[in-house]
Every structure is written in C-alpha cells, then in structure tokens.
C-alpha cells in the first residue's frame, strides 16, 4: 500500500470507530448480521491470503460444507483457518445448510486444529452461524459430544487461536469454534446464548417479541466489550461490512498480523496458562466471591503433563 492509501485507510477507520461508539441497536445488528450479502469466512480467507488451500473432511464420517478448514499464507505466514460457512448464494446456502454444522463439521474443525498444533501453525477462526443444526441425524451422531470435545481441546491447544465473530455468533454452535486467546467481533456482529426469537418464545412467551429480546439479551459488540467477553471491536463501513468488505478484511488482517507477532513468540505454557485463566475468570461478577480462583487454577496447571 502507498503511504497515501495507508493514511486514508486509517482516516476511515477513525471515522468508523466514532460511528461504532454510537452504534446500532441489538435488533438492527441481528438483521444486519443475517443479511445474505454480508461477507463470510470464505471471502475473508480468500481475500487476505496470498494462497489458500481448503482441506476437507473429519476422517470419520463426512465433509461438512457448513464448516471450512484449510491452510493459508498471509504475507508468507502460514495460518490454519477454521470458519462457519453460509454460502454466497441460495444454491450454496443450501449446500452449506445456512452455516449450521453437524457433528462432522466440528470434528473437521478439531482435526484442522490438531494438525495446526502438530505443525506449530497459529489458528484463525471465523464465527458466523445461527447455531449447530438441530436435526435428528446430528443428534444421533453426537452434536453435543462434538461441541464439548472442541471446547475441551481448544482450551489447551498449544498454538495461538484468534477468533472473529463476523456475523451471527449463535449459541454452542458458535462457541464450538470460539475458544481462543483473542476474541474479536465485527461492529455489527452479534453473539448470544440463543437467538432472540428463541429467547422471546421461551422467556417472554411470545416469539413476536424477538426485537425486544434482542435488546434485553445484550448481544452487540459493544455489550460484549463492556462485559469483557471480547477483546475488541473490529469496525465496519458505515453501512455494514457488506458495503465495503475489503475495508473490514484489512482491519481483520491487521489485527491478525499484530496479534500473531506477539502470540507466536510466547512459550506455549504461557499461552495456554493465560488462555485458561481468561476462561476461568470470565464471569467478572463472580470474581469477588472466589479470590483464590486463579491461584488454584495455576497450581493445577503446573501439574499437567504438558
């Protein structure tokens, strides 16, 4: 990039950050994050990589199109990518089951992650799913087990993991590829334990009250930054990432390069210890109750057979 371009880029970022501080309502974000023309994992991966090779399959049962995994290089640096995939058009939406994975998707993600660990490659995850697919077959093949295993395995993986919620971060299906060292959200992305529709029908006893639920649930990037659940917000163009995908892509790429510079040099003990501590103390509102939490955790950690 020329100096002029760089300058312009930062100016735009500044403007966007200003916008972000006001921000959209929860419901507006929900709608925006679900727009079919919103750039997805494939777009960001293809755009930021010099080279990308998709790797398929869980080596157990199948290849879940709703999850993309592979290896790419960003400015020569090798990275393992894992992402929910919704597909870019109706045909692909259907092929990709609208980003809702079955167990084989999570198991493919785990295989990619374990391979990254073996070859000391950092991992970047893109989260964008309404949730795991709640069908009969996925239940029978252990969708609960598949997500659970990922949570466990990702929490002690010996390489850096950066996660970006780029659209919908829905429930366990999002968390299943969401454990890492850094978690970012695009400005208009959402992250929640259940869809606002689900929240409305269960807790408000009226599915029509989804909009109200979206606010009550505090699921925007600003809410989650306030809760200290995410590390930072990645700005989007004023009309959303879909109006200027490359801008957001650049911001994500910069974040990746900056973080990897720092995280890749850490010893894996420090990396994992810090990750575990962050997970362990994520409920800020409970921290006072158990001041000895981290001490005990770290004591256990020293006894692990790394």
């Amino acid at each position: 990039m020329s100096e002029r371009t760089v300058q312009k880029f930062y100016e735009t970022l500044d403007k966007m950050e200003e916008m972000a501080s006001k921000g959209r309502s929860g419901w507006e974000c929900v709608l925006l994050s679900r727009q079919p023309n919103r750039p997805g994992a494939s777009y960001y991966i293809e755009s930021m990589c010099d080279n990308f090779m998709e790797l398929h399959g869980d080596r157990l049962y199948g290849d879940d199109r709703a999850m993309i995994t592979g290896i790419g290089t960003i400015e020569g640096r090798a990275v393992t990518f894992i992402g929910n995939r919704k597909g870019e058009n109706l045909k692909k939406n259907i092929e990709c089951n609208y980003g809702m994975s079955n167990p084989e998707g999570y198991r493919k993600a785990l295989r990619a992650a374990k391979q990254a660990e073996k070859f000391h490659r950092p991992i970047v995850c893109f989260i964008d799913t309404p949730g795991a697919y709640p069908g009969m077959e996925g239940e029978a093949r252990g969708i609960g087990e598949a997500i659970a295993r990922n949570l466990k395995e990702f929490s002690t993986l010996k390489v850096p993991i950066l996660s970006f919620i780029i659209g919908e971060g829905g429930s366990g299906g999002a968390l299943g590829i969401g454990i890492g060292d850094k978690l970012y959200m695009l400005e208009n992305a959402v992250y929640s334990v259940i869809t606002p529709e689900g929240f409305a029908s269960i807790l408000l006893r009226d599915p029509a009250r989804a909009q109200e639920a979206a606010e009550a649930m505090k699921m925007t990037s600003r809410d989650l930054k306030n809760f200290n659940i995410i590390h930072d917000i990645i700005p989007e163009a004023p009309n959303g990432a879909q109006s200027d995908p490359m801008l957001t892509c650049k911001a994500i790429k910069e974040t990746i390069m900056r973080d990897l510079d720092i995280l890749c040099d850490k010893s894996y003990e420090n990396l994992v210890r810090y990750r575990l501590k962050k997970i362990r103390t994520i409920d800020a509102h409970l921290r006072q109750a158990s001041p000895q939490i981290s001490t005990k955790l770290l004591e256990v950690f020293t006894r692990t057979k790394q």
Partner: protein
Amino acid sequence: MNNVIHCPSCHRDFDYDVVAAYQMVCPKCNHHHRLSAVKRIESIADEGSFVEFSNEMAFANPIEIEGYDEKLKQNRTKSKMSEAVITGRCTIDGKPACIAVMSFDFMGGSMGSVVGEKITEAMIEGALNGEPVIIFTASGGARMQEGIFSLMQMAKTASAAALLEQTGTALFIVLTHPTTGGVTASFAMLGDVILAEPGALIGFAGPRVIEGTIGRKLPEGFQSSEFQLEKGFVDAIVDREDLPKTLSFLITTHTEGRCNE
C-alpha cells in the same frame, strides 16, 4: 394428597413412601423418578462423609434481566437449595471423591455463572487432590437469563475437564433425566466414563426444537439413555441401586495399581 405418586411408565399409583424407599424407583417397572440432590448424595456417599464445598457465592443478575432476582429467590424458597447444584467431597465405599449433583428442581437445572463456577471448582479440587470427580447431571441447558455468561459456562467447565485430562484425574458422569443443551455440549459428554440412569432424556437440542426443524414427531425413545448407548455416547446404563457399587468399582480401577509410571 402428596402421599400418592403416579408412575408415568406403568401408570400405577403408589404410596409415596413405598417409592421413596426404593430411592424413587418404581418398584413395579423400574421407572426412575427424579431424585432430589440431597437424597442423591445420601444414596451415594458413605454415611456422614459428605462435606459441602463453601457455598457463599454471590447472587448475580449479570445482564440485568427483569424479574430474574425475584425468580432466583422463589426458586431458593421452593427448592430449599441455594442454586441448581450441590458440590462437595465425600467417600464412596471408603474412597474419596469430589462430587457435584445438579438438581432439576432449581430453575430446571439450568447452568448460569454460579452453577458453572461450582462445577468447575469441584473439578479443580479433584485435579488438585488427585481425587476422581463425579458429576450427576440434570439440566434443561443454559440459564438464558444470564445471557452470554451462561454460554461461557460451557467453556469454563470444559476447560476444567481438560485440566482433569492433563493431570490424569478421572471424571465420571452420571446422566440423569433430563440432561440437555449446554450441559450436554460441555462437561456431560467429557467423562472418562459416562453412565446413564435408565430412561433418561439426553440430548443437545430439545425434542421440540428438533421436531420444529424436521417438521414431524420424533420416534419413540429418541434421545433416551438406551438410544445414546446404542449411538455410542454412553458407556453403560446403570440402575440407581447399582450406582454406588459401580462408582466404587470405577474409582478403584481408575486410581489403583497404575503401571509404567
């Protein structure tokens, strides 16, 4: 009036005390009714051996949902429990273990920060002391009133399971009716050995959600303990009365006589 209990399985009515004498198992058809957390501990721990872990965790309404504080208070009164799980240390057949017993009676056994925290603490205690951890699950899933924090409990408990793995500490899970949602998709599926009581409902998505997706009724027995055994996610289905000796056997074979160390 509370003296009669109806069995939903064999459709007979029984004197409550008769069923209670069988630890809430139907004496005619072996249907396992829900057992309270307190009774569960009595049924498993050596008499007088249970010591509860510190129980002073703060009430919290982290995303400030209207009416949640009130709901918590009501549940405390109704269930006589402070939250949906009791944790502590006991001996089983003379052997020490850390145990966590969830209760469906408290807000449907849903997992919020306190439940996740207490379960995590029990696991960390086990890892610290090299004592097996035994968790009895019963849960409708995440405590939605705690929003994103309820989702985070899945990560927290699962990462505690990773520490058990890496310290070579055993985790035994006993799935009881019902175990669904975020509990199934975290520690409940991470046991070294996973037992289930007969006839329990065990799944990630609830039956009604799946029926909504597929547009028809689920077949009989879908997501039952027996179904999960067949599908490879449960090690064994164990009658309630056999649980103490089964757990005793598992503790022994997972802690004693370790070779090649």
